[in-house]
Point group: C2
Chain length 228, copies 2
DNA sequence: TCCAAAGTTTAGGTCGCCCTAAATTATGAT
DNA sequence: ATCATAATTTAGGGCGACCTAAACTTTGGA
């Protein structure tokens, strides 16, 4: 079984590059708060394991092998199940779940993973709307787009938000924005200006900066269906 | 914050010697599956920390300091809360909870500890009847005795059972014995022979070997109160 | 084509936690 | 008082995961 450090490397590669792309040494060093030389060393070691979780080419970064990809998804599944469990069962707010899950993801057994999933009804998304990988490594997909790219006038539903910044999560919670919330995009100022929104059933206009809007993903209403 | 290894040493000392006695090098080596020389080395290092969690004297083993005692109790509190949580909320059987708790006890935050305790209604005992230390380090006490020492003819209630052997736990579960179960001791064969019991409301006699009986603790009926 | 930036290599080191083997010393029960 | 046992010391080592500094190589864009 991979160590916590190895799991963190695999997860980082997945988060940076997905299951196809390559993660550069520098990007991994940044994400893991580790020196570049340490990353090079670790990637070389991992690439020589049998089975190797990563493919590594000098100066070209690392790519997950099938093995590595499955392991990364396993850890991410743990993480997101735990986040949802903390939220639903233990009353954690969505800005508190990440740090706790970051440690627990390495400590739970397959059995506990299964019981948590069962207890939650085999959920497909975590509290931030991120998809929870299935046991077989497949991922529930949702076609969505950045709120930044939505058409002015469209009525959308929030599908997910970035969970990397607790402060932003609290801000969004304050605005009443979370997965499932309806948002009508009523205006967009030029030159990367703020968006104007109607949130939920409220008619009140709310301005939202582009930095925040870029971290919100939404699904448009069903194909061509008008309001009624 | 102490490492997992240090916490395991403190817990082991507590389990061997309580908060007063000393744990010998050999006993720690056995319990932790580690070489005696490693134990000596670790105890010396711990005794020099500030604040030192253990007092150490050559050839005389280790004793927990106040600091060390509180830390040991903290970890044990985690362990037992987690055991009960797994049992009550996630449907673990009582022979499955220990191994899972053994890892998780090191990974949960104070916040999670609190939420678990809250969710369980601030319980005083774990699934095996072991007392759960309180946050301040005090321990719910229950006057109980080994089933081996109970009087023949007395009607007792199981207060706790040893949780160190999953197979024994499954055996006891099969007999219908768990904390809270009523047991009437109807006979005791000489020369460390088996006890004869009536378990719960059943009138059926059940023989129980002394090894198992020694791992069961019971509370006698309330002072002098007869059956009715 | 050239060069800065990114990445790598090497050499050396740290820290925590563990190991062995062999020599030595202290303890406590007889 | 003796002596087996328990404990300690010393010297050496290993592993995983990190670090720095400095030299080097590769890459890719201007
Ligand atoms: Mn992690
Ligand atoms: Mn999340
Ligand atoms: Mn442990
Ligand atoms: Mn227990």
């Amino acid at each position: 079984m991979p160590s916590e450090a190895v799991d963190d490397y695999l997860k980082a590669i997945y988060e940076i590059a997905g299951d196809e792309g390559r993660a550069s040494t520098a990007s991994l060093a940044r994400k893991l708060s580790v020196a570049p030389a340490s990353v090079t060393g670790m990637l070389q070691k991992l690439a020589q394991r049998k089975p190797a979780p990563v493919q590594y080419q000098k100066h070209r970064g690392a790519r997950l092998s099938e093995h590595g990809k499955l392991r990364a998804l396993e850890v991410i599944r743990h993480h997101r199940l735990i986040e949802l469990f903390l939220h639903r069962v233990l009353g954690y707010s969505w800005d508190e779940v990440h740090d706790e899950a970051e440690r627990l993801e390495h400590a739970i057994s397959e059995q506990l993973e299964d019981r948590i999933a069962e207890r939650l009804g085999n959920p497909e998304v975590d509290p931030h709307g991120h998809p929870i990988p299935r046991k077989d490594g497949s991922i529930p997909t949702r076609r969505d787009m950045s709120l930044l790219e939505a058409f002015v006038g469209s009525e959308t539903t929030v599908s997910r938000v970035s969970d990397s910044n607790p402060e932003m999560l609290r801000y969004l919670a304050g605005l009443g924005i979370s997965p499932g919330t309806k948002i009508k995009l009523t205006g967009r100022a030029p030159f990367d200006g703020p968006l104007t929104l109607e949130i939920g059933n409220s008619r009140k206009k709310q301005a939202l900066g582009p930095t925040v809007a870029g971290e919100i993903r939404v699904t448009p209403p069903l194909n061509g269906k008008g309001k009624g």
